[in-house]
Symmetry: C2
Subunit: 370 residues, 2 copies
């Protein structure tokens, strides 16, 4: 079996809606009669500022972002935010940051924050067990018994395929601020923004091309970074200059905006959540109903709806699966280097049909090699 359409299961940079790419292509040489490409416009031109404001408005509408939050489109990926959140949100003298480790990315965040000068980190919870992450530490088990400037956690882990299905939230007024890396499930479901001091997300999973990082931060927390922090790393500089402190990734931000319009057209986040749940259910069912031919080891209640990790009975078959799937136009299914096996990333832009085609391929492959 072979799909005539190419389905791209890359963990990121990931697939984008075909409709969006079509618009990008159509407008590439001439954006709405201006005779210019968005790529070659001044970031201070009215045309680009209009694009940016529309992206902000559409994002606000999608997520229900209250007015007391700032929206920034920055660069550097989630990896730069590991550092930037500390400089911007270390509000007390002690600069104590609580870290929750639930997989590869939150562990890197913990390590990177721990390296920094004048900060102390507290590992308040981890689900690591013999080098594996098959679960996430539930919020009730976090050790929040010391003063913390904020707690950092990652809502979905792309490498290990685990995800908070019930998102940690602001438990009480005295509870430490929550900072969430939502890179890999941003805009895939409804959330309550008010629960977080700051949310950040690299664009290249669910919302656009690599090179754009969205930061949503409570305005009252801005302006508290020490003076020694360079302006470019101070959220306040970007906020005060309406996102024009320095030249943003204009073209990438424009593409993110098209994705947001597409999400609104699909019915917004509650509708996306429904479709994403359906896609994940279909794929996990195919695994679970394979009589053990395919396995996923993640604790069921925290299986990721974005990144589905699975294995055949042996590495040789895994390699064959990937080879044949690639030939069948089901691309980038190879698991993360340290994990082996397969990983299907099924973000917002992966159509239901792509997952159906993958499931059919899996059943066919099983019949032939069981």
């Amino acid at each position: 079996m072979h799909s005539s359409e190419v389905f791209n299961f890359s963990a990121g940079p990931a697939t984008l809606p075909h409709e969006v790419l079509k618009i990008v292509q159509e407008e590439l040489l001439d954006y709405k009669g201006t005779g210019l490409s968005v790529m070659t416009m001044s970031h201070r031109s009215k045309t680009f500022l209009d694009i940016l404001h529309e992206v902000e408005n559409d994002l606000s509408q999608l997520l229900g972002i209250p007015d007391d939050y700032a929206i920034l489109f920055l660069q550097g990926g989630a990896s730069l935010q590991f550092t930037d959140i500390v400089w911007n949100l270390s509000l007390s003298q002690k600069r104590q940051v609580g870290c929750v480790v639930s997989g590869n990315w939150s562990k890197i965040a913990y390590q990177q924050i721990s390296k920094m000068d004048l900060v102390s980190t507290q590992l308040i919870a981890t689900s690591e067990c013999e080098g594996q992450f098959l679960d996430v530490p539930l919020q009730k088990d976090w050790q929040v018994d010391m003063p913390l400037d904020f707690i950092h956690f990652t809502s979905n882990e792309t490498v290990h395929g685990v995800q908070y299905q019930t998102l940690p939230h602001q438990l009480s007024h005295d509870y430490p601020l929550l900072v969430c890396d939502m890179s890999s499930d941003f805009l895939s479901r409804s959330i309550k923004v008010q629960d977080y001091a700051l949310i950040y997300a690299g664009a290249q999973k669910n919302i656009g091309p690599a090179g754009v990082t969205v930061v949503i931060v409570r305005k009252d927390l801005l302006g508290k970074a020490p003076n020694t922090v360079p302006d470019v790393l101070n959220y306040q500089s970007h906020f005060k200059k309406d996102g024009m402190y320095n030249t943003p990734n204009t073209f990438g931000t424009y593409v993110c905006g098209l994705v947001m319009k597409w999400l609104l057209q699909q019915g917004g986040l509650s509708q996306m959540e429904k479709i994403n749940t359906q896609k994940a259910h279909l794929l996990y069912s195919t695994i679970d109903n394979s009589g053990g031919f395919y396995v996923n080891h993640v604790h069921q209640p925290v299986r990721s709806k974005m990144n589905v990790v699975f294995y055949t009975p042996n590495e040789k078959l895994d390699a064959l699966f990937i080879e044949e799937a690639t030939q069948a136009n089901l691309k980038f299914l190879k698991g993360y280097r340290s994990m082996g096996g397969m990983r299907a990333s099924i973000y917002n832009a992966m159509p239901l049909k792509g997952v159906q085609t993958l499931c059919e391929f899996m059943q066919d492959f099983q019949q032939r090699y069981e």
Copy 2:
């Protein structure tokens, strides 16, 4: 008079070669038969890695980059490099950085470096005079009489339209390391890379879309950043992982690569230098031969070949000039906010015809309003 073609004189994000934008458009939905857009490919896919290596090779060929230099495609713009160079190149205990100020950008760099912890800056030369920059401080006048970890200077200043026509260089073996911000004249002329410890350039002037920053750094200087510097800001992390420490701006880098192929097709940098000199000569001649109707105040030998600043006899006429020029499809000629007047940015991708059309418009405008 009215040009049927749109010419975009934006200082950045700036115009890109039409041929390049055509290829971007053609390949947008299907890159060379892969069925995928470059925008949606994994940065670790063979296809993207091949693109990246080709960009590196083409850049090496264009600039003549020796093997003992690393080439990195990073994010965050020149503004992030102001900081990053200090963390990576403060090689001595004293961390003393010499700054040359020749315009808006080098002044911001000086201010930002001065803010940082544990670094002392020395203003070793400035051409600022009553808030204006009409000249650049020649290297022979720099005060290099104390130990310096490195000297930072900016080869071309976009706001003030001044440019080093003879580039500062490594005067002797004992001379401090030179670090150059080449954002706005990168690849516009031949240079000797060996003269510099590090060169950086935001892409959005001469080489591609905003959101990509090229860093060329001597390999023996890598790995000397303090341990407390986050990995994402340590050049060594990016170099050791072949540019894949974190997800790069894949699509932007691909577009930069197309521009480099275009530059090679044009005949390389010596040919670009010839054309750029011709364009600048044409425009400055039009100004100088206007009998004082148009003026440019910059000291003649350091007039920028990239950004040509000029004024009519009064602000009202300046505004009218910009208005009529815009209607005539000569866009983004408005001067920088603090400067007023006009600024024509005529980077590599601005065709000779664009400058000719502007000059004809200027003569026509003068006849009508003198």
